[in-house]
């Protein structure tokens, strides 16, 4: 499962985890702006190569990153077909009365590359930033601790809630209700036998967790102490910030001229 993307940073398997989380944010923001800035296929592909290069150098989990890219495929197909059918131009492929235009297909591919770039930027970010360090940084930036902590809490309890859902699903299967066998198109309407017990279970669990957190004086003191410290940005961080600005400027200039 692609869930190990954040586990990679959690276990410190990448040298990028040593960078300041703000550095990762700046780099990701630059990549996101670049992915939005141009629809030129060459520039977009260049950005894909750059981001995969970063993943290689940073020893990020390439397999999981490619799984995320695979998820873009159905979207690619859908966008390319729509653009091919809707845009006028030289016919690339004709089936029956329908024809896919070359211009539309190229535009569809460019948009796909754009989505892939966005997915790569966010995936690389989560693969390289430790959730606790992210939480600490958000607190330093000014977000109240109890809200910043929700990121850690969510990642911590995700397997537990998914386990609850699996148990409920199995219990309902034992009673003869199997959502996997329901018609795909009415499945969402028939989700209630899973939804209701799951919501009741998680609310009960939330009560116990909140009680345990309150007993440990969660949020009682305005000044929060941390087991781990995030060091101030160093030379490597400054270098990445400068590189981000340079790349962004260069990309925008190229995007306007091409």
């Amino acid at each position: 499962m692609a869930g190990s993307i954040y586990a990679h940073a959690l276990e410190g398997r990448t040298p990028l985890a040593r960078l300041h989380p703000v550095t990762a944010m700046v780099w990701t923001a630059a990549m996101v702006v670049m992915s939005f800035a141009s629809l030129d296929l060459r520039l977009g592909l260049g950005l894909v190569v750059l981001q995969i290069g970063v993943a290689l150098i940073g020893r990020l989990p390439l397999r999981q990153i490619f799984v995320v890219l695979l998820l873009v495929l159905p979207l690619t197909l859908f966008i390319t077909v729509i653009q091919g059918l809707a845009r006028p131009g030289e016919a690339l492929l004709s089936i029956g009365g329908l024809s896919l235009s070359r211009e539309g297909v190229l535009l569809g591919l460019a948009i796909t590359v754009r989505v892939a770039n966005l997915a790569l930027a966010t995936t690389n970010f989560f693969a390289s930033v430790h959730p606790v360090r992210l939480s600490m940084t958000l607190t330093r930036i000014g977000l109240p601790f109890k809200y910043a902590y929700t990121t850690v809490l969510a990642l911590r309890f995700l397997p537990l809630v998914l386990g609850d859902l699996r148990n409920i699903q199995n219990a309902q299967k034992a009673r003869g209700y199997d959502i996997e066998r329901k018609n795909l198109f009415v499945r969402v309407v028939k989700i209630m036998p899973l939804m209701a017990p799951l919501i009741v279970t998680v609310l009960r669990r939330a009560h116990s967790i909140a009680l345990a957190m309150d007993l440990r004086a969660f949020g009682a003191f305005p000044e929060r102490t941390w087991w781990e410290e995030v060091a101030s940005p160093g030379r490597a961080d400054w270098a990445v910030w400068s590189l981000s600005v340079l790349l962004l400027t260069g990309y925008l200039l190229l995007g306007f001229t091409l």
């Binding site: 966010t122 995936t123 309890f157 959502i179 989700i191 209701a196 609310l203 909140a210």
Partner: protein, 207 residues
């Protein structure tokens, strides 16, 4: 677990403690319940939404590559509506935003970053629906108004996204928007109202 149940059964006072309503329907929706239980419950609801969405997102990915989510939206409308109704605006936003965060962190949806905007709008819709319905949030009227507002807000938010980011010819997408809204308006109020009643009868809500 068995020991705990035995302990609870053997101490009458503890049984009562276990049965008190865990959370009250938030009367002060802005900012809502920002105590520990409000925040933790919101995170847990968001995680439940993430788990349940796997049944909806598969269908959406199969049909439209996830570009025109229908089943996923029904589940999201339901749970964001529930979270906001129970705990107010801030926990509602946590329910809405933890899911795209998880989806991005676990790599389950390539367009998850967009959901920060769209899910946030669902909270606005729930707050407006609560304001319009006023008296009783555990009602079909609340569920229907919330869904209708969500459908309008999200369609309006998706049009610029489809035009500017995906360069789609929106005039030709109107039929898909209409189908999306129709399915949402039929399925979501039924699910949300049923869920609100379950939650109320389970003792989680005091209005």
């Amino acid at each position: 677990m068995a020991d705990r149940e035995q302990l609870v059964d053997s101490q009458p006072g503890v049984v009562d403690e276990e049965r008190i309503p865990l959370s009250k329907m938030s009367l002060n929706v802005l900012p809502g319940r920002t105590d520990t239980i409000g925040i933790v419950s919101a995170v847990m609801l968001a995680l439940a939404m993430t788990g349940l969405l796997q049944f909806g997102e598969r269908l959406d990915t199969l049909i439209t590559g996830g570009l025109f989510p229908i089943a996923g939206r029904v589940i999201a409308f339901t749970l964001v509506g529930l979270g906001t109704a129970m705990f107010g605006a801030v926990p509602g936003l946590i329910v809405a935003w933890v899911n795209p965060f998880i989806a991005t962190a676990t790599g389950t949806s390539p367009i998850a970053p967009f959901f920060f905007l769209t899910n946030g709008l669902m909270v606005v819709a729930a707050l407006l629906a609560g304001r319009l319905v006023r008296k009783n949030i555990v009602s079909f009227k609340y569920a229907l108004v919330h869904t209708a507002l969500c459908a309008v807000f999200l369609t309006l938010a998706y049009i610029p996204l489809h035009v500017l980011y995906f360069q789609l010819p929106v005039s030709q997408m109107l039929i898909i928007y209409a189908v999306q809204a129709l399915v949402e308006l039929i399925a979501t109020p039924i699910l949300l109202f049923s869920l609100l009643r379950v939650i109320k009868s389970a003792g989680f809500v005091e209005e």
